[in-house]
Each structure stands twice: as structure tokens, then as C-alpha cells.
């Protein structure tokens, strides 16, 4: 049957679309979808090292959630992730909001500060973790040295070795590392507000605080939702900073243990105890993945409803 010019054009167009779409689909399937599905499948088997054993159904999930050995460790780590989320929401995102407000007011040298506040974000997390480990070193770290210098010797402590301060120190290091990101997002949000709205608010009689609370904050609130979503994902995937600064065991005494470390230890083992349980590790990874996907999707849907038109 002869092909009409229109049909030929359609065929050409479809071939072009296929040429563009198929390679990324194959790539994603091989390197993203397949590993996720594999991990999901691994979780239903017993593993001996890297050798797959019997199908065990939901036993691995049960052990991870309520098992006598894994259960307490996982929930302890989960609690630390929640602490990190709450603390980072306040320190990192809240701090970012106030830094953005300061930069928005264009103080002296604001161009320099705008860059300076973002520089740590582009540093490698490994470098930041190592840097802060040095800063917090009980003997020669600059934090304790500074306290000694101003005569506050009593406040100096082994920050990463003390159970009461270790998690806080990790959270602060993470906040220092990433605070530039929410700052930039909030600053962009603030700069999007038409200047007349700010002027109208000033004429209406707002104080600086009222302007921030009643006008600026509600108008940049949609940025908060996306930042919260990203922070939520980041907080429950938290791994690099704790790993570099306190090691795989979440020392001291598991006070800095987070789900990322538990997963790594369970799936791949650690130096001190070469116990490795691929099935439980996969079960934990799957649960974590589902938890993050469900909450992040809900947050995203919520975000879309709150967008503001100027």
C-alpha cells in the first residue's frame, strides 16, 4: 500500500521521538528501576553473605521493624533522623530564611555575603565532614581553642565523643553545609515579591517584624514546602556527615546512629563486626524508600495547592 506524505511525516516524527526517548528509558530501567526492584526482591530472601537462600516472605521486614535485635536499633536510628529533621528544619531552613531576609535588605557587602553563604553548599560533603571533625577536635579544634581563648574552658568538651552533644554537632555541621540552599531559595522568593507590595505594607503601618510575619513569610511560604520536602528526603537519607564524622557505628553508644548507617552496616557489614545481612538491609532500604516516597509525594501535592499568584 502506498504511503501518503502525511503518513510519512508522522512516521518520521514518531521515529525521531522514539530515538530520543528509548535510550533514556533503557538507561533508567537498567540502572534505576532494575536495582530498586532487585532490592525489593532481595528483601524477601534469606542471604548468606552474597549467596541468596530461601524465600522467607516478610520475615526480614518483621525483623527490621519489630525483631528483638534489629527493631530497637532501627527505631533508635529513626528517632535520630526525626530529631535531625526537626532540628534542621529550624536551624537550616529557619536560619536560611533569616539569612535571606538580611541579604534581601541589601546590607553593606551583600553581594559578597550572597556568594559566601552558598560556598559551603558546593563543597563535597566528605570535605565538610572532615573539616568539622577537625574544628570539633577536643585537643586542637578551633571550637575548643576559641572557648579556651575567651576563658570559657568549662564549656569545652569532646563534642563528637560526648553522647549529649554528638548528634547536635552533626546537625550543626550539616546546617552549616547546606544553609546556603534554603537561603538562596528564600531570597529568590523574596525578590519575586513586587516591591509595591512591600511599599504598600510599609504605608499600611507594618513594623519590620509585622512585615516579615504578615507579608513576606506568607508570600514565600510555598518555598518552605519544597524546602521541607527536600529536607525530609535529605534527613531520612542522612549518611555522609555521620559516616565521616562519627563512623559507621553511630558512636558514641549509638547516639548518632541514623537509618542510613544502620542500613549500610546491615547490608554491607562494618570493620568491627563483619556481620552482613543483605535481606534485612534490603528490607530496611525498601521501607525507607516507601516511607520517603509516600510522604514526599503528599508534601508535593500540598505544595501545588499553595502556590501564590502575584
Amino acid at each position: 500500500m502506498p504511503v501518503s506524505p502525511k503518513q510519512a511525516r508522522t512516521l518520521k516524527h514518531r521515529s525521531w521521538v522514539a530515538f530520543l526517548v528509548i535510550p533514556p528509558i533503557v538507561f533508567m530501567s537498567l540502572f534505576v528501576v532494575y536495582p530498586i526492584l532487585s532490592a525489593f526482591a532481595y528483601a524477601f530472601y534469606e542471604w548468606r553473605g552474597l549467596a541468596r537462600g530461601e524465600f522467607v516472605g516478610l520475615a526480614n521486614f518483621k525483623e527490621v521493624l519489630i525483631g528483638p535485635i534489629m527493631g530497637p536499633v532501627v527505631w533508635n536510628a529513626f528517632l535520630h533522623n526525626v530529631y535531625a529533621l526537626v532540628a534542621l528544619m529550624i536551624i537550616q531552613n529557619g536560619g536560611g530564611f533569616f539569612l535571606a531576609w538580611l541579604l534581601y535588605k541589601e546590607p553593606f557587602g551583600f553581594r559578597f555575603h550572597r556568594v559566601a553563604v552558598f560556598v559551603p553548599v558546593v563543597l563535597s560533603t566528605i570535605i565538610v565532614g572532615f573539616l568539622w571533625k577537625l574544628f570539633l577536635n577536643p585537643n586542637f579544634g578551633i571550637v575548643n581553642q576559641a572557648l579556651f581563648t575567651v576563658g570559657l574552658d568549662s564549656l569545652a568538651k569532646p563534642w563528637l565523643g560526648d553522647a549529649s552533644t554528638a548528634l547536635g554537632a552533626l546537625i550543626l555541621a550539616n546546617a552549616w553545609h547546606f544553609v546556603g540552599f534554603p537561603t538562596l531559595v528564600y531570597l529568590a522568593g523574596m525578590q519575586r515579591i513586587p516591591s509595591e507590595i512591600i511599599e504598600a505594607a510599609r504605608l499600611d503601618g507594618t513594623s519590620e517584624w509585622q512585615l516579615l510575619k504578615n507579608v513576606i513569610w506568607p508570600l514565600v511560604a510555598p518555598s518552605t514546602t519544597i524546602l521541607f520536602t527536600l529536607l525530609f528526603i535529605g534527613a531520612f537519607n542522612w549518611f555522609e556527615i555521620p559516616y565521616v564524622m562519627v563512623g559507621l557505628d553511630g558512636s558514641p553508644y549509638g547516639t548518632t546512629d541514623v537509618l542510613g548507617l544502620v542500613f549500610y552496616r546491615t547490608a554491607f557489614g562494618n570493620q568491627s563486626a563483619s556481620i552482613q545481612n543483605f535481606g534485612q538491609g534490603s528490607a530496611l532500604a525498601t521501607l525507607l524508600f516507601l516511607f520517603i516516597v509516600v510522604f514526599a509525594s503528599m508534601l508535593t501535592l500540598w505544595l501545588r495547592r499553595r502556590e501564590i499568584q502575584f
Binding site: P194, E196, I197, E199, A200, A201, R202, L203, D204, G205, T206, Q210, N214, V215, P218, L219, A221, I308, Q309, F310
Partner: protein, 356 residues
């Protein structure tokens, strides 16, 4: 309500002078319009009255009080912006009540004032809506409502109708004027549209390049413009200008034609001068009429109520507005006869020549 006094106001951004010494007196309850082309400094002057721009030099008083260093919120003024500047996250009612909320006004009074203002502007059915759910005209009305609720001493309007379509602009123009007649609050209104200025103002301040060119009632500016700039800016279509040399009893054009003048100009014969005549003060007469300007019809624009004719004459195009319907065709030879007693004369520096 209060009078506003602006004394020798100057404004510079770095080394660039935007406003170069402006004096304006605005009486209590007066509707004053600052008009001028883009970049003339009219909006900057308004923003200085509002306190949104620092004053480089000079003095602004609202009532008896010098407000140079008084923050905007303490000046007892309300401003309506060109792009409405409504709070997008608040309902119409909340937008209007915001200033009262900040002042801690009791709920009952707050509600009453918002309801009264909304009723006067036809906003009652819209009180629960958000700005994004309103049309441009409704948004502008809410912005006005927000200003009215505050019951300020002075209303400031910064090109409030520029974002509206032509029909709505005419409607809102009448509404703002009616509002002023009802409230009698001192109003300073900025526009670049001289029709708005002519139709709404008690007094017009024509600004150009950072200075005041003329202050006066609309018809005073129209009938007796102080200089060539005002003459060309006020009136639509704009005044026609013809350059020539003064002779005894008239103005000689380069071609040798002499246009008659009604009166004795205070300028010696032989001086260069510009003859100004408004489009409605040029009559179309048969070609060859003595004392008339020979011309050729270029464009005929009937608007229904009147007809605008653009004709080619020596020194450029001349615009004529006639009330009657005319049967002219492009290319037709005509002559244009100025109404001598309605003619304006400007000297070489563009200043009005007395004596006409």
C-alpha cells in the same frame, strides 16, 4: 484632611538630578494631578510625599508638620499603586482591614469601616475573594477601598489606571472623581495621560525634566499655556506649531505667507517666534484663500463625533479637528485659516509671548 506644601524639593540618584527644585502648594481637599512625560520626575515626587524615597534637599509638609524624616506609616497618607499592590494571600476584606488590624482597631469598628468602604465601591459581594479571582477594575477598586478604610489626610495615586483597558479607564476615572467629591480628601494623583489630568484635576502640575513647567486649573493650562512644552503636552490632538519671524501685525513663514495675529505681541518685529494653534482652531477653507496656510490633505480620520484631518503644509504636518462631517480626500488641496484670537505665540526660548 490636610494641605500639602512642597518647597524647593530636589532629588538626586548619585550624580543624576531627577528633581531640580520643585515648589507646589496643594490646598486642603484639593485634587492635584502631577502630569508629564516618562522620566519627568512626577512619580519620584509622589513617592517622596509618601516617604518611599528620601529627599535630597527641600521640605515637604503635610498639614503643619514637616515630614522629611517621618516614616511612611506615620505620615497619615494612603497610596494606590499602578499594579494595585494587593496582598495576594489575603482576601479582599483582609486586604482592606490590614492597616486597621496593625493599629489594633477593635473588631466591630474594623468590620464596619471595611463594610462601609466596600459598599461605597460596590465591593460587598467580593469581600471573601482573593485578588487573583478579581478583574483589573475590581482589583483597582479594592486598592482604593484599602486606602479609604484608613481615612487618611492625603490620598496618593500613582498612575492607578494605566493597567486598565480604555473603556474601564474612563469608568474608573469618573469613579475616582466622584469618590473625591464625596470624601473631599486632599489627593495627589500622578499620570502621564493628559486627558486624565484635564478631566479629573482641580489643579494640574505639568512637570518636565525634573522641573515644574506650569501649575494651574485644567482650562487655564489649555487656554494659556506658559510655554511651548505645556502647549504641546496639554490637549489631544496636540497643538500645531509653525516657526516664523514676527512682522508688524503678523508672523511671516519661511515661504513668505503672513499669518495674522490678534493683538500686539510683546516682542519686537523681526524676532523669531513660534505660532501655536490648536487643531480645533484651524478652519478648512478653499485653497487660495488669502491669509490662510496652503495645505494638502494627507489623512482623514472620522471618529464619529468629530473628524481629524492631517494636512501637509510648509514646516510639516498640521492637524485639524472639525465637528462637521467633511468630504475631503487625501491629496486634495485646501487652505487652513487659524482663528486669530485663539492663537498662541512663543518666543525663541519657547516661553509664551504676552499681548495676544
Amino acid at each position: 484632611m490636610a494641605n500639602v506644601s512642597i518647597r524647593n524639593i530636589r532629588k538626586s540618584f548619585g550624580s543624576v538630578a531627577i528633581i531640580k527644585g520643585v515648589d507646589v502648594d496643594i490646598d486642603d481637599g484639593e485634587f492635584v494631578i502631577l502630569v508629564g512625560p516618562s522620566g519627568c520626575g512626577k512619580s519620584t515626587l509622589l513617592r517622596m510625599i509618601a516617604g518611599l524615597e528620601d529627599i535630597t534637599d527641600g521640605e515637604i509638609r503635610i498639614g503643619p508638620r514637616v515630614v522629611n524624616d517621618v516614616p511612611p506609616k506615620d505620615r497619615d497618607i494612603a497610596m494606590v499603586f499602578q499594579n494595585y499592590a494587593l496582598y495576594p494571600h489575603m482576601t479582599v476584606a483582609d486586604n482592606m482591614a490590614f492597616s486597621l488590624k496593625l493599629k489594633g482597631t477593635p473588631q466591630a469598628e474594623k468590620t464596619k469601616r471595611v463594610q462601609d468602604a466596600a459598599a461605597s465601591l460596590g465591593l460587598l459581594p467580593l469581600l471573601d475573594r482573593y485578588p487573583r479571582q478579581l478583574s483589573g477594575g475590581q482589583r483597582q477598586r479594592v486598592a482604593m477601598g484599602r486606602a479609604i478604610v484608613r481615612d487618611p489626610q492625603v490620598f496618593l495615586f500613582d498612575e492607578p489606571l494605566s493597567n486598565l483597558d480604555a473603556k474601564l479607564r474612563v469608568q474608573m476615572r469618573a469613579e475616582i472623581k466622584e469618590l473625591h467629591q464625596r470624601l473631599k480628601t486632599t489627593t495627589v494623583y500622578v499620570t502621564h495621560d493628559q486627558i486624565e489630568a484635564m478631566t479629573m484635576a482641580d489643579k494640574i502640575v505639568v512637570m518636565h525634566d525634573g522641573i515644574v513647567e506650569q501649575i494651574g486649573a485644567p482650562l487655564e493650562l489649555y487656554d494659556r499655556p506658559a510655554n511651548r512644552f505645556v502647549a504641546g503636552f496639554i490637549g489631544s490632538p496636540a497643538m500645531n506649531f509653525l516657526d516664523g519671524v514676527l512682522t508688524d501685525g503678523g508672523l511671516r513663514l519661511p515661504s513668505g505667507a503672513v499669518l495674522s495675529l490678534d493683538g500686539q505681541p510683546a516682542l519686537p518685529a523681526g524676532s523669531k517666534a513660534t505660532y501655536g494653534v490648536r487643531p480645533e482652531h484651524l478652519q478648512i477653507v478653499p485653497a487660495g484663500t488669502p491669509g490662510a496656510i496652503p495645505a494638502e490633505v494627507a489623512v482623514v480620520e472620522p471618529t464619529g463625533s468629530d473628524t481629524t484631518v492631517i494636512a501637509k503644509a510648509e514646516g510639516g504636518n498640521l492637524t485639524i479637528v472639525v465637528r462637521d462631517r467633511v468630504a475631503l480626500r487625501p491629496g486634495e488641496a485646501v487652505a487652513l485659516q487659524p482663528v486669530a484670537r485663539q492663537v498662541h505665540l512663543f518666543d525663541e526660548r519657547g516661553q509664551r509671548v504676552a499681548g495676544l
